[in-house]
Amino acid sequence: MITFDQTTKTYAGGVTAVKGVDFTVEQGEIVVLLGPSGCGKTTLLRMVNRLETISDGKIMIDGEDSMALDQIALRRKIGYVIQSNGLFPNMTIEENVMIVPDLLGWSKKEKKARFNKLMEMIGLSGDKFGKRYPHELSGGQQQRIGVIRALAADPPVMLMDEPFGALDPIIREKIQGEFLQIQKEVKKTILFVSHDIDEAIKMADKIVLLRGGELMQYDTPSEMLVRPKNEFVREFFGKDRAIKSLSLHTIQNLREIIGLAEFDEAITDTKTINVHHDLRNSLSMLLNQEAEQVIVSDDNGNKLGAITIDLVQKYLHFEIKAKPALVQKG
């Protein structure tokens, strides 16, 4: 748990980067710090592991004032992932991943076992990649290594500063998904900086929207999309925020609440879509008119019904707008 209590950052020149921010990241949650550049999100993140000093107010980690803790010990207890180049080119992949356990004095055997386990988590072979150097890996692989390096000593808290920002969109989406999968297992308390609205909606349990160092709104993605607290929030998420909010809901949600349409066996020009697909992608598939009829199937391939633009629209109007809190993220 990370608690921000009137946290403030003022630079020597008198510029205030963060102004009295208050919020709590609950145990096991991902909170995304979102906002335009210069809004103070990275500064706020770096104040947690004291790469930036705290000018006023407090940051509590699991109830302890971070200023009361030893700076080095504090950092070793907090996983840290940065955008790019965070891996040390002079160390092998195994050495990179095992830095914190090494600093903490783990035995060789413990380190080896932990390394292999972490590599397994991201689907890479420890034996094959352990002795390689970072430049021999693709960008996506390097970023995955950066993530497991932060997880190496099993810290309760993780800080991620635009961890997937340097990747191309396809790889980024893939790694985001993988990371959510890992998070289901490890349940870390995560503070995540992003400037990408779609990424924030996808990754966040809650979003902190910042502007000029001030907290504009702290809410779940769906609340923020449907009930923006002020004009800035409304504008930040844009006119298409209704469509964006669809990515928080799956066909399954729609099926449970308003049901699917009957499908027509006679139509041969059909496409099949999995019931766990999100509604935003489903809608764009429908709008692209890729087929005359889109049939929804479950994981076993059984046909459950058909989905239409009308149904999505109905769901959007009657369900999301009316009672946004009902449908929680997967």
Partner: protein, 217 residues
């Protein structure tokens, strides 16, 4: 050509001895220069004001004509009865080697990717751990380039040491000049050039051997 071969045959052991003397003088000077220059260069990265001053002084040092610097050493070291010979030459060479070593160390450490430094801090490395595990390994090729420059400069300037009685290959050249003996001059010069090439080649090999592969290009 025949005459020259004969000259080399007769003088080979003397040439060899002088080369060794030259190499020892330069080698020791570089060793001490390293012990001063590398830590100083690293320290300067934490003190911008001092960095500018020290680099200025080191630059000025390199512009002093070598013969003048060796000359200045004589009265200074006469105070402790070491006016000529090995010691003043050694000190002058240490001074000449400082600029490339300090400047390259300073620049190399300063230019370590700030994101890498940030990651090292964020992972909880102490300053010295960061220095030895991240900064120095990644700065290594540039530091080595500075050392190589210093070695080559010193082997060349070491010739002048003969004028203040420190021996080395300069002896052949100075004698050659005073006697008008071209064989001596050419032999001394060629020997100095070969020594410089061998030393530089050896250091380049070390540099390549210990540079992390990822940053080699």
């Amino acid at each position: 050509m025949d005459k020259w071969m004969k000259f080399l045959e007769i003088n080979s052991s003397r040439i060899f001895d002088l080369t060794i003397e030259h190499a020892i003088l330069v080698g020791l000077a570089i060793l001490v220069a390293l012990l001063i220059g590398v830590p100083l260069g690293i320290y300067l990265t934490t003190n911008d004001y001092l960095a500018e001053t020290v680099l200025q002084i080191a630059s000025v040092m390199l512009t002093i004509p070598s013969i003048a610097l060796f000359g200045v050493m004589i009265p200074v070291f006469s105070i402790v009865n070491l006016g000529i010979g090995f010691v003043p030459a050694f000190v002058a060479l240490v001074l000449y080697a400082q600029l490339p070593i300090i400047r390259n160390t300073y620049t190399a450490i300063r230019n370590v990717n700030p994101q890498m430094r940030d990651a090292a801090m964020g992972l909880g490395m102490k300053p010295l751990q960061r220095l030895f595990r991240v900064e120095i390994p990644n700065a290594f090729p540039v530091i080595m380039a500075g050392i190589r420059t210093a070695v080559v400069i010193n082997i060349g300037i070491g010739v002048i040491a003969a004028y203040i009685g420190a021996g080395g290959l300069g002896v052949l050249i100075t004698q050659g000049i005073s006697r008008g003996d071209n064989y001596l001059i050419i032999t001394g010069s060629v020997a100095v050039a070969i020594l410089a090439m061998i030393a530089d080649g050896f250091l380049l090999w070390i540099q390549k051997r210990y540079t992390p592969k990822s940053i080699a290009n």
